[in-house]
Symmetry: C2
DNA sequence: GGCAATTGGCACCAAATGGGTGCTAATTGG
DNA sequence: CCAATTAGCACCCATTTGGTGCCAATTGCC
C-alpha cells in the first residue's frame, strides 16, 4: 500500500516542530502537548530517528531532542528509511532486509522487476530531493519537487543560499 | 508502507503479458502457465481491472481478457487505483473512502497535512505520467520518468508519435 | 442438448503488519 | 535523593493482506 505509517507521520510532525525550535532542547512531552498524539508512539519514533542519526538527544531531567543537522540537510528519504524502511515498491526488491528465504519464484521470467526498479529509483529521487525545509516551504509546488528530484546533485530544495 | 500489494504486482505482470498479446483473447490459464503465480489471485486482479475498465473480457469456452486500450493509454496510476486504491500517503487524505468516523484529531494544528498533500501530488504525477508502454521500454531512465511527470499534459511517455 | 472451459461474485480463513501499551533500566539536573 | 527524561524490550489487539472454496453465468464445440 502506498501509504506512510503513523510512526512516520508522527516522526515528521516531531521533526518539523524541532526545526521550529532550533537552539533548544525539546522534550517529548512538549511535542505531545502541542499535538494530540499518543506520546508513547511519538517517543518510539524519536528513538528511531536518534538511532538513525537524524536527531540527537540528551537524557536526564532537562533532556530532550534536537535536529542533528539543519532542516535543509535532512531529506524525506532518510526519515522514511529510518522509520519504516526504504521504499521497496515490491517485496522482491527489499535487498537490505533478511531476504533469506530464497528469491521470488517469478524472478527468472519476471517482466516487471526491472521496470519497477526504475520507478522505485524515480520515487526515491523524489524523496531524497525533498528536505524538511522544502517540505515546510508552502510556496513549493509538486512540479517544483519533481524538478528538484530530476537534478538531485545540483541543488536540493531548501539548500539555496539564504537570500 | 511504500510497497505495492501482490494483487498489484500480479495485475501488472498480467497487463504486460496482455500488451504483448495484442489482437488475441488471453485466458487466465495462459498467464498462469507462463508465470508461476497463484492463478486464483491473478484471476481476482483481472476481475478488478475489468471492473475499472482497463481490460475487457469475454466469458465462455474461448473467453479471456485483452487490453481495453493501447498500452500507451494505460497509466500506472489508474492500474494502482484499480487494484489497491489511489496512493494516499497519509490516512487522513483518503478522501474517497468512507471517512465517516470524523476527521483526524491533529488536523486543526497539523503541520504536515498540506506539505504531504503536495508530495502526494508529485508521486501521483509520476504514476500518471508512466504508461504501460513506458514501463516496458527499458531505455527510459528514472530521470525520464520524472521529467515526463513534470509536464504530464504535453506528452505522456509512450505516446510519442511512432517514428 | 450437453459438456467443458471460462469469467463473475461472494464469503471465508490464516498469516503478516501496524498501532499501541507495560514495564523497567539508565541518565542527569536540582 | 528525587523527579524528569531518554533507552530498550516484550507483548497484545485490530486491520490488512494473501490466498482458497464454492457456485453461478456464459459460451464455444461436439
Amino acid at each position: 500500500m502506498l501509504q506512510l505509517t503513523k510512526r512516520t507521520e508522527y516522526g515528521l510532525i516531531a521533526l518539523l516542530h524541532l526545526a521550529n525550535s532550533e537552539g533548544r532542547v525539546v522534550p517529548v512531552r512538549e511535542i505531545g502537548e502541542r499535538f494530540p498524539l499518543p506520546k508513547r508512539v511519538l517517543a518510539e519514533s524519536l528513538k528511531d530517528l536518534g538511532r538513525a542519526g537524524i536527531v540527537e538527544s540528551q537524557r536526564g531531567a532537562a533532556g530532550g531532542y534536537w535536529l542533528a543537522r539543519g532542516a535543509g540537510q535532512i531529506t524525506l528519504g532518510e526519515v522514511i528509511s529510518a522509520l519504516e524502511g526504504a521504499p521497496t515498491l515490491t517485496s522482491c526488491q527489499d535487498l537490505g532486509a533478511s531476504n533469506a528465504r530464497g528469491q521470488c519464484e517469478v524472478q527468472p521470467v519476471c517482466p516487471i522487476r526491472s521496470p519497477l526498479t526504475r520507478l522505485r529509483q524515480g520515487i526515491w529521487a523524489l524523496l531524497e530531493g525533498t528536505t524538511l525545509r522544502s517540505l515546510a516551504n508552502p510556496s513549493l509546488t509538486p512540479a517544483d519537487l519533481l524538478a528538484a528530484a530530476g537534478s538531485p546533485l545540483s541543488s536540493p530544495l531548501g539548500d539555496q543560499p539564504a537570500a
